[in-house]
Symmetry: C2
Subunit: 196 residues, 2 copies
């Protein structure tokens, strides 16, 4: 596969990667957060896990060259390229129906947790749970070793990351539909990816 | 229930709390990390979730007065008292067989993930997954908004926290058996709790 594929605004997409294939995920408009998950193709119960990944690299966000660990503490992806300033998030759960309810939504609001489920359903798969995602470009600084802030991305249009598969896996991505706080600049848009 | 119960060194314990009951968890010797989980009694698939809790309080560790959110973004526990300096961790996964394998253990090493499963099994329950725990007294500072360190607890013998149940729930605790890095001062010991 070598064509640029759209992750439609507020929706998710998933794709299978063979070990050593890479995926380039493009922040087409610069302001978009892309929640990202990876599941082992051999057993979906092994997946990229932020709480294991942080312990594996001794940092709260991966940088170029870092393996990203699964919940069985082995690399499932490696971050091999990043043209953006490297501001990504591992601390915050995917948005979900309860998040929007808490923000005052009376009606259904699209959300990343459902986008994960929809994206995997397109591949006839069901995620075993909604793991805490790698939130590409989500700008959540930790202040004074404790407080967190919710800021717009610092990336520019066309910035991309490349993630290399360290095992056969399924990568799922959600163009985050959050439009009630500034993490997408109040303007959720599409993003793109290409498998190489 | 109002007796002091031992969490044996390197093992786990679980207890049922009715809504508005509290549990006091005591760091008897001061150097011990206690991994802590909470599951809704009505549906174990709702549980205390660090990635949702951080978003709920806009901080990476709870302080006295803070509700601690479930994966359905409602308070499941509230931290109502803390005699220690408040250094707890929400960033790091429970230790598991793969952690010790990575540290060079050829044989089975007791671990917090299995302690959770054993503790719930004593109540004839099976956890739906091993959520990222609230690691009481685990000293994992974030340095320069990115790096993390692994340090011994700063608590003193007899320090305790009190957690109030905001719904009927099961609280599970593990006296962390980690003895290969300094987070328990290389000396895993027992801790205690009492339900009030």
């Amino acid at each position: 596969m070598s064509e640029l594929i759209t992750i439609p605004a507020r929706h998710g997409k998933a794709v299978r990667l063979a070990s050593r294939q890479s995926i380039r995920i493009v922040n087409t408009h610069g302001n978009q957060v892309v929640d990202t998950w990876a599941f082992s193709a051999a057993d979906l119960r092994e997946f990229m896990s932020m709480e294991h990944a942080r312990a594996y690299i001794d940092r709260i966000r991966p940088k170029v060259g870092d393996p990203i660990a699964s919940n069985q503490r082995r690399p499932i992806l490696t971050l091999t390229e990043d043209t953006s300033p490297g501001v990504h998030d591992t601390l915050i759960a995917a948005c979900d129906i309860w998040r929007y309810k808490g923000l005052g939504c009376a009606e259904y609001h699209r959300n990343c947790a459902d986008n994960l489920r929809e994206a995997l359903a397109e591949l006839d798969l069901v995620p075993p749970e909604c793991p805490s995602p790698l939130n590409l470009w989500m700008n959540i600084p930790v202040v004074n070793n404790d407080g967190i802030q919710w800021l717009p991305p610092v990336s520019k249009p066309g910035d991309y990351v490349v993630l290399r598969a360290e095992m056969d896996c399924i990568v799922a991505m959600s163009a985050c539909p959050q439009d009630m706080i500034p993490i997408n600049g109040f303007n959720p848009v599409e993003a793109h990816f290409i498998v190489t």
